[in-house]
């Protein structure tokens, strides 16, 4: 049975070496090229694979943010359509308000064409809270799972997934619609095909603001956020290290063990 998949994608800075703006005391990402969050590549790829497994299925990429290029990248990698949720009211959002915006957009998509699965990457490489998938599921009041390393069986009514835990693998069965946050073991993303790239170039993506989503601007962006980034700073430098010197390897080994015992590390 064909299904409708929504893949949530985020635009992130291509580098993690982000300076602090001395004026604001906040990270300064302006000027750093933006890319599709690397962890979202796995979610997009999984949508493409589900489309192959369940012929006739469609995948819609969804982003909250000003950068529409991530939708183009998702389209090049196999998504059929894309929606951008953007506008000044969405600026300065945190995981709580951004997930509320995602949920509202998913509801709108769902009303138009029923959604079966919503896929997410493990976390965004910038803020890395790793919670937006489960937060979106909670706003929608849909079942969900995070840490998904395998989608075993999916039909229009339910899905069986494998979840990677610290001590092993859980299997869960969820009724649809459901939200799944993936991990990188789920697949090996393929590079966009030439055909995909060509199609993506021409694609147009609708842009929805708070009004189209029926959201009060006070619920989204900085106004709807539960947290505020007060300040960012580089981590304190590690104290200078010591070199374990010795004429022979045996001498070095003995000195290392001395030092570990002295510092009560063993």
């Amino acid at each position: 049975m064909p299904i409708h998949i929504v893949v949530c994608v985020k635009s992130v800075p291509s580098s993690a070496a982000i300076p602090v703006d001395p004026g604001t005391g906040l990270p300064k990402t302006a000027g750093v090229p933006a890319i599709l969050n690397p962890f979202d590549e796995y979610a997009v790829e999984e949508a493409a694979r589900l489309k192959e497994r369940l012929p006739g299925s469609t995948a819609t990429a969804l982003t909250v943010g000003a950068d529409v290029e991530v939708l183009r990248e998702a389209a090049a990698r196999g998504c059929d359509a894309g929606v951008q949720v953007a506008g000044p009211e969405f600026e300065g959002g945190d995981s709580l308000s951004s997930s509320a915006a995602l949920a509202a957009a998913i509801k709108k998509l769902h009303a138009d064409k029923p959604v079966h699965l919503v896929l997410f990457g493990k976390n965004a490489s910038d803020e890395a809270s790793g919670t937006v998938g489960s937060q979106t599921a909670a706003w929608l009041d849909w079942p969900g799972a995070a840490g998904v390393k395998k989608i075993e069986a999916a039909d229009g009514a339910s899905v069986t997934v494998h979840r990677m835990m610290e001590d092993g693998i859980d299997a869960l069965s969820l009724s649809l619609p459901a939200c799944l946050a993936t991990v990188k073991e789920i697949n090996e993303p393929r590079l966009p095909s030439l055909k995909g790239k060509m199609a993506a170039k021409k694609a147009v993506f609708p842009k929805w603001g708070a009004a189209e989503l029926g959201l009060d601007p006070a619920q989204v962006g900085a106004a709807g956020a539960g947290t505020r980034l007060a300040k960012a700073s580089p981590p304190p430098p590690r104290p200078a290290g010591v070199k374990v010197e010795g004429a022979t390897a045996a001498e070095k080994a003995a000195k290392l063990v001395d030092l570990l015992l002295e510092r009560k590390l063993i």
Partner: protein
């Protein structure tokens, strides 16, 4: 600033309390003492009484025991629903959860149910209500402020010492839970077939990288780990080479660890690896290249070939233990 009171949310895994639960008790107790506010906890499990009593014995003032067969294994919507009910009942403003796979999802759902701000992977909680967490793979530290009456904080494992038995034992109160008609069903669990120490909860970690030269190099890494009572980690280069399974990977796309002692063997220390271990207590590097980033950032740098050094280190430890 969030409302008064601190609530720890604990979901025992496979029937046992994870060590991180006792770390949360310490984090909660410190905050409670600094603010002169009560410390409570909620245990969500099919058998909650035992674990609840254990938390009470470690100094939690009041522990809610929510017992239901459907809480035996982690199902995010059910656990979050039960936790939200306990949070509303206790009326607490600051909720602490561990940043495990389950804890992260639980904190996320709970935050939405309580319309609460959420900060993940927190390693410091200030009495003024602000928390510290990493940003951009740990290249920056964020100071986060809560705007909501309730704050949900997921605490990075290994950041606080584990609470011991306290002088004063708290009270345990059972709480009923109606799961409604759940749409998620736990099917089964398959354990990793090894009884190795879990990386995330280990006080010592020995990791191997491409410098081991091949899978046989991990034999020495495991031997050293056994001698030190350590868990075994790896760089992505070693994992991608197929020398060791992915679950051992430390770094940006692997696990984050924060042991007291981290020994990096044959790992050059690229930023993506450092992202997963740079907040370790003491970092020891074993590497012939004294100029590589790992040797530069290590607290203790041992220049040399691991094949020669590790057997000598193991022999030395054994000798001293007699």
């Amino acid at each position: 600033m969030a409302n008064p009171g601190i609530l720890i949310v604990v979901a025992p895994q496979r029937g046992v309390l994870p060590p991180a639960a006792f770390e949360l008790v310490t984090a909660g107790r410190r905050l409670a003492d600094a603010l002169k506010e009560p410390l409570s906890a909620v245990v969500l499990s099919d058998k909650a009484q035992g674990p609840a009593a254990e938390l009470a014995a470690r100094g939690v003032d009041k522990v809610y025991a929510v017992e239901h067969p459907l809480l035996a294994d982690f199902v995010e919507e059910l656990h979050a629903k039960a936790a939200a009910e306990a949070a509303r009942k206790s009326g607490t403003g600051k909720i602490l959860v561990s940043s495990s796979v389950a804890g992260r999802a639980l904190a996320a759902r709970l935050a939405v149910l309580l319309k609460a701000g959420l900060a993940a992977d927190v390693f410091e909680i200030r009495p003024d209500g602000r928390v510290l967490r990493p940003l951009f793979s740990g290249n920056l530290i964020a100071e986060v402020e809560f705007k909501t009456p309730v704050a949900v904080i997921s605490v990075a494992p290994m950041t606080f010492p584990r609470a011991e038995k306290a002088a004063k034992t708290g009270a345990v109160e059972p709480l009923a839970f109606d799961p409604g008609a759940p749409r998620s069903r736990f099917v089964s669990f398959k354990a990793e077939e090894s009884n190795e120490v879990d990386l995330g909860a280990a006080e010592r970690v020995v990791s191997g990288g491409r410098g081991l030269g091949g899978p046989e190099g991990f034999k020495l890494v495991f031997d050293l780990a056994h001698a030190l009572g350590a868990a075994v980690g790896a760089s992505r280069a070693a994992v991608d080479s197929g020398w060791i399974p992915y679950r051992h990977q430390v770094g940006l796309t692997g696990r984050s660890v924060r042991p007291k002692l981290y020994v990096a063997v044959g790992i050059s220390g690229q930023i993506q690896h450092l992202a997963g271990m740079s907040s370790s207590g003491t970092v020891v590097a074993i590497n012939p290249d004294k100029d590589c980033p790992m040797m530069q950032t290590a607290n203790v740098a041992v220049q040399g070939d691991y094949k020669e050094l590790i057997p000598l280190i193991i022999a030395d430890i054994k000798k001293r233990r007699g």
